[in-house]
């Protein structure tokens, strides 16, 4: 008995969607526990034994039964649509990531390009939310967001292009396939790999609007930025999208630089290795988030345009020279 391809595609997409929601829900708990440890606290503890493991479920239920407030002056259509417009690109980035050979929704031959293109679309929903709220804080935050995200998109693209250049393919499974062997991971590629990984992490922090690049959230000046007017399930969808995007970026980092599902042990351990590596990248980002203070908007722009952008372009050129002169891996 064979399953029609459309049905198996549907099943794969359905499983992936549920896996993302599940992992994202629990990664919030991980971040809270991690942050608590860094500050000598315990973190969520009382909901569920041991160590408050039911806390994310309680949060989700609570957000679901919260009253939903649409401010009277808001642009209702834009305001109500924004969480959905924000959520879709944030979760769609997972579509091209393979979690093991052949295990994924679609291993497109333009995988990396698809990821970068879709992940940049989150700014549309973000700006809709900021504008539609008709709130001064939200509007300021949305303006800052556009400014920052378009500034850091470029270093992000250029840093992600380094493994593509080394492999000669944008297909994610081909990039992982080029990292086989001892010291095969691109993060271990001499000089180029480490610099590109650091650039990727910095650009990822900024693209995810995390501290020290969180001027658009800025609790102490803009309260919570573009989502200040959101409550209940709409707020939950925005948070879900934000963490899903962050997790997607961690997965891409693990895939491009840390060898994806490659690891010791039998093949079925592959997805677990991949998840562990992605969580590792996520924890690096979280570690930075809870260690540094917010930096000013002019500093943020200066870092991107005067330092990170030229540095990544030069790095890309250097990689190009190495590849053209016969280095690199793959094909």
């Amino acid at each position: 008995m064979s399953v029609p391809p459309a049905v198996s595609m549907f099943i794969a997409a359905f499983i992936l969607l549920n896996a993302i929601v599940g992992v994202v829900t629990y990664i919030t708990l991980l971040e809270r526990k991690f942050a608590a440890r860094m500050q000598s606290r315990i973190g969520p503890y009382y909901v569920g034994w041991p160590h408050g493991w039911l806390q994310p479920i309680a949060d989700a239920v609570k957000l679901m039964i919260k009253e939903d407030i649409v401010p009277a002056p808001a642009d209702r259509a834009v305001y109500n649509l924004a969480p959905l417009v924000f959520l879709v690109p944030c979760m769609l980035v997972f579509a091209t990531i393979p979690f093991a050979p052949g295990l994924g929704v679609a291993d497109l031959n333009i995988g990396v390009l698809f990821f970068l293109a879709v992940s940049a679309l989150e700014i549309v929903g973000l700006f809709m939310g900021g504008w539609g709220s008709n709130n001064k804080y939200a509007l300021l935050s949305a303006m800052r967001a556009v400014n920052q995200i378009i500034s850091y998109d470029l270093p992000f693209i250029f840093a992600a292009l380094v493994p593509v250049l080394l492999t000669g393919s944008m297909q994610m499974s081909a990039i992982v396939g080029a990292q086989h062997g001892l010291a095969g991971w691109f993060v271990l590629y001499p000089v180029i790999g480490q610099l590109a990984f650091v650039a990727y992490l910095i650009a990822a922090l900024a693209a995810e609007n995390r501290v020290p690049f969180d001027i658009l959230e800025a609790e102490s000046e803009l309260i919570a930025g573009f989502r200040v007017e959101y409550s209940g399930m709409k707020f939950a969808l925005i948070q879900l999208g934000e963490y899903a995007h962050m997790l997607g970026t961690s997965f891409l980092g693990a895939l491009l630089f840390l060898g994806g599902w490659l690891g010791p042990g039998p093949a079925w351990l592959g997805p677990i290795w991949f998840l562990l590596k992605a969580v590792f990248v996520f924890l690096i980002l979280t570690w930075v988030r809870w260690s540094f203070v917010r930096i000013r908007v002019d500093q943020i722009l200066a870092i991107s345009w005067k330092l990170l952008l030229p540095a990544t372009v030069v790095l890309l050129l250097a990689t190009g020279f190495v590849v053209a002169a016969g280095g690199g891996r793959g094909l």
Partner: protein
């Protein structure tokens, strides 16, 4: 294009997930609006006027620069795929192109476009 069908299915599922969860929340939550609750949140102060005022779009020049470098990225993607077979000649062509864009970057730097005002 059939390779993109799973992506489309996944996108539709995400939209469905968002719509369904919003609909469930709509059934589960209370709704008791009043005038004060529906006012814009400004830390307790009463908002004066709408937020939709004329706004100095400071990143206008940054956006122009972004388009230039994004175009560079568009050219870099196919270049990255064919560099290895083509070898050093393709590298020097791209190096010259990036050099020209780099001159533009230096000009923008000296004109102070990269300073945030």
């Amino acid at each position: 294009m059939s390779a993109y069908l799973p992506v489309l299915i996944f996108a539709v599922l995400i939209v469905a997930f968002g719509v369904v969860s919003l609909a469930v929340a709509r059934l589960a939550r209370p709704s008791r609006p009043d005038v004060v609750k529906l006012a814009n949140y400004e830390c307790g102060a009463e908002p004066i006027g709408p937020a939709w005022v004329r706004f100095p779009v400071g990143f206008y020049l940054v956006a122009l620069l972004f388009i230039i470098f994004d175009t560079l990225a568009v050219f870099l993607f196919p270049w990255a795929l064919v560099l290895k077979p083509l070898g050093l000649s393709a590298f020097w062509v791209m190096a010259a192109f990036i050099g020209i864009v780099g001159l533009g970057w230096i000009y923008a730097y000296r004109e102070g476009v990269l300073e945030w005002k």
